[in-house]
């Protein structure tokens, strides 16, 4: 009797844990309701106007020096910030971070801290106060409220964990009167002084899909590997690719969710190779790209034409194998920009209302250059991190 009761209780608890575990363990978190409504079609995530705008932005020459892409902006609409101008340095800058739960965010976070150190040395920033919400919306809402309540933040920087849920918190921060800078994922309000982001998910997905369409013969078979459903930045990448593939003569074998887990990726690719040939691989993020390549190697099949990301393990494997590949980029150097933007605003300088950073993929021609620049960096580092000129380079990123 006791054993059955224990079993029942354990099974119930297990179920509960499973239900919550699904949402808390994922590398880039999505609220559960979104995950379920995302379903199969990319349609809900496809907005033609945004798609057209992002694809057009890829061809627009950004303003600013190409040597410092984190300061460049595409078609900026400069706004006056003199109302926020502040005398004397040593500003207290408060940063509410969604999380550092994946290598992309870790790399960016290191870059941001190094940028802060430079501005602390020069006396523009005094205290840099940080809270990390660990991918928890509620936590981030209270983190932001704590900054507002403290009352001594001269600027608040927010990297929202999700769009809709964080909107009221960002609005509250704006109402407190201090300048607010939002970056990476957006929110449904433009109350922030500036919103900083690279071109976006559609451009990322389109860069990759167009490369496969160009490089592969008509009729070739492409497999799409995706991290997880329901996250807007990732869904947009796939929506763009799905559209381009549909208009091409390539055959999409399937689109699979991998959780970014290398073992899962290798399993899935191995299984597809058991079914037949795969000529191309499209990925919505580079995590685990090497495992996909190894699946081809282990099965003794010719390597596919492939798109990954500017993650170094993929780029090194690309160089080593000489395969045909492209590294689309979701500009990691954007983590520098909010800090610089905050000091610009506090100095009363103009900033773009929406600060769209360039987002150029790394091509075969640039591969050696980027590998040489990042020679000492660990595998799970992003080539376009944009911190080579900061004093902490290379130790801060190497010895993470």
């Amino acid at each position: 009797m006791q054993t059955t009761r224990l079993a029942a209780a354990s099974a119930a608890a297990l179920g509960l844990l499973l239900a919550t575990g699904c949402t808390t363990d994922s590398p880039t978190d999505a609220p559960e309701d979104e995950t379920t409504t995302a379903a199969e079609s990319g349609d809900e995530w496809f907005v033609q106007a945004d798609y057209d705008e992002q694809l057009a932005q890829r061809d627009i020459e950004p303003e600013g020096d190409p040597a410092t892409p984190w300061l460049q902006a595409i078609e900026p609409e400069w706004i006056d910030t003199s109302q926020f101008a502040r005398e004397g340095g040593d500003a207290t800058v408060c940063f509410s971070n969604a999380s550092v739960s994946n290598p992309w965010r870790v790399t960016g976070w290191i870059t941001m801290q190094q940028q802060v150190e430079v501005l602390q040395e020069s006396g523009e920033i005094g205290e840099f106060r940080v809270s990390d919400a660990g991918d928890d919306d509620d936590q981030q809402i209270s983190d932001i409220q704590a900054f507002i309540d403290a009352g001594d933040c001269n600027a608040i920087i927010i990297s929202p964990s999700t769009t809709a849920t964080l909107t009221p918190a960002v609005e509250a921060a704006c109402e407190s009167g201090v300048p607010v800078v939002v970056f990476d994922r957006g929110v449904n309000t433009d109350c922030a002084v500036t919103f900083i982001h690279p071109i976006g998910g559609y451009a990322f997905g389109a860069d990759a899909a167009e490369f496969l369409v160009d490089e592969l013969e008509p009729g070739s078979k492409v497999l799409a590997l995706r991290i997880l459903p329901g996250v807007d930045v990732l869904e947009n990448r796939w929506a763009a690719a799905e559209k381009i593939f549909a208009e091409s003569e390539l055959e999409v074998l399937g689109n699979e969710f991998t959780g970014g887990d290398a073992a899962e990726i290798k399993n899935i690719v191995t299984q597809y190779l058991q079914r037949g040939d795969v000529d191309g691989i499209w990925m919505d993020a580079g995590d685990g790209a090497v495992a996909a390549i190894e699946a081809f190697e282990d099965a003794g099949k010719p390597l596919p034409v492939m798109t990954g990301e500017d993650e170094l393990s993929f780029m090194r494997k690309w160089e080593e194998t000489g395969m045909t590949a492209l590294a689309p980029v979701y500009s990691n150097f954007q983590w520098r920009t909010p800090i610089i933007a905050a000091t610009m605003i506090l100095a009363g300088e103009q900033v773009p209302a929406e600060w769209v950073l360039p987002q150029d993929p790394i091509t075969a021609a640039e591969l050696d250059d980027y590998l040489a620049r990042n020679e000492e960096m660990p595998s799970l580092h992003y080539a376009k991190f944009g911190g080579e000129d900061l004093p902490g380079f290379p130790d801060a990123w190497r010895d993470r």
Binding site: L14, P27, G260, K266
Partner: protein, 338 residues
């Protein structure tokens, strides 16, 4: 199982909870065969077994803990931790492979020991102990690596999970992972036949009776956790070797493996089931993933279908067990684990 005398015996065997998983496995394999018979060509099937091996090893370890009346939820995090530790310590240096392997075994046993001691000596329910351990390991690795694993595995480290004996007729390659998995399975079966195995089973079936009969229940349960930690270490070596390092290695494995063990007819709460069936449960889950792939089932539909099949299989087995007059409970409790 080896002493089946006729169709009636065969039916009875198939109807008992342990047998269900083998029937399920046969059905899945038959279905895959219909869809794509090339799947069963030597090299292709070996590749399938290679990818299934880590989960099967993990299922053997989890079996010991579950049959003794506990849970080990920390194995997924432990697998992840082991891979990350290996990458960081080896950092691509061939010469460090063996010492680091020893460190990993030590670490796996240590985690098992802590789980076991907290559960038995401090009387904390294993569900909570190992859930806590899951979080501790997860957090410690995040803290240690800053969220992104660094370093790299050496070629020789990856041999076990990725390579094999090449040039075998028909099969092509016999992966080391498969050989290791078979060895672990054989070891586990033999272990369950010893006095230790019987004590373990008795501890899960009726702790008090086992204690009164003079069995050292706590010692057996601690040993089960040690075995689970060891199996997670082996699984970590195989998974790391198979696919390399990523930040998500091991995520959610604890649930997959517990599902596998339950699918194998092992009863949560302990005292019933065979280790071979638990490993077959793991194989069935991997086969199910392959089947979904062969069917080109939309990725979003898979968890639902998987869940439905698992519930149906376990419910079927449970109904058989509960039927009045059925000999199943007795058979499964003392079933020869071969």
């Amino acid at each position: 199982m080896t002493r089946l005398r006729g169709p009636v015996d065969l039916l009875r065997w198939a109807a008992n909870p342990t047998g269900t998983v083998f029937v399920l496995l046969a059905v899945i394999f038959a279905w895959i065969f219909v869809l794509n018979d090339a799947f069963f060509a030597g090299p292709s099937f070996m590749a399938f077994l290679k990818q299934a091996a880590p989960l099967m090893v993990l299922a053997a370890g989890q079996y010991f803990v579950i049959v003794s009346g506990n849970f080990d939820l920390s194995v997924g995090a432990l697998v992840g931790a082991q891979v990350v530790i290996a990458a960081r310590l080896i950092d691509g240096e061939e010469s460090r492979t063996v010492p680091v392997l020893l460190v990993m075994v030590g670490f796996g046993l240590l985690v098992g020991l802590v789980n076991g001691l907290i559960t038995t000596v401090l009387k904390v329910q294993s569900f909570i102990t190992t859930l806590g351990m899951l979080l501790v390991l997860f957090g410690a690795i995040r803290l240690w690596t800053g969220g992104a694993p660094t370093g790299g595995l050496s070629e020789s480290f990856r041999t076990a999970g990725r390579m094999g004996i090449e040039g075998v007729p028909v099969l092509g390659q016999i992966p080391w992972a498969v050989i290791i998995m078979v060895a672990v399975g054989a070891g586990a079966i033999l272990l369950m036949r010893t006095g230790f195995g019987r004590i373990l089973m008795a501890s899960g079936d009726n702790e008090r009776a086992a204690g009164l009969a003079g069995a050292r229940v706590d010692a057996a349960r601690i040993a089960a956790f040690l075995l689970s930690g060891l199996s997670a270490t082996i699984a970590g070596i195989l998974i790391g070797g198979y696919a390399g390092v990523s930040a998500q290695v091991g995520d959610g494995l604890e649930f997959t493996v517990i599902t596998a063990v339950v699918l194998g007819g092992v009863v949560l709460g302990g005292g019933r089931g065979s280790v071979l069936a638990a490993m077959a449960g793991a194989l069935a889950i991997e086969a199910l993933f392959s089947l979904f792939n062969q069917m080109a089932l939309p990725a979003t539909l898979r968890p639902t279908v998987q869940g439905a099949i698992i519930i149906a299989a376990v419910a079927y087995a449970a109904r058989r067990r509960a039927r009045p007059g059925s000999t199943a409970p007795h058979v499964s409790a003392t079933a020869n684990p071969s």
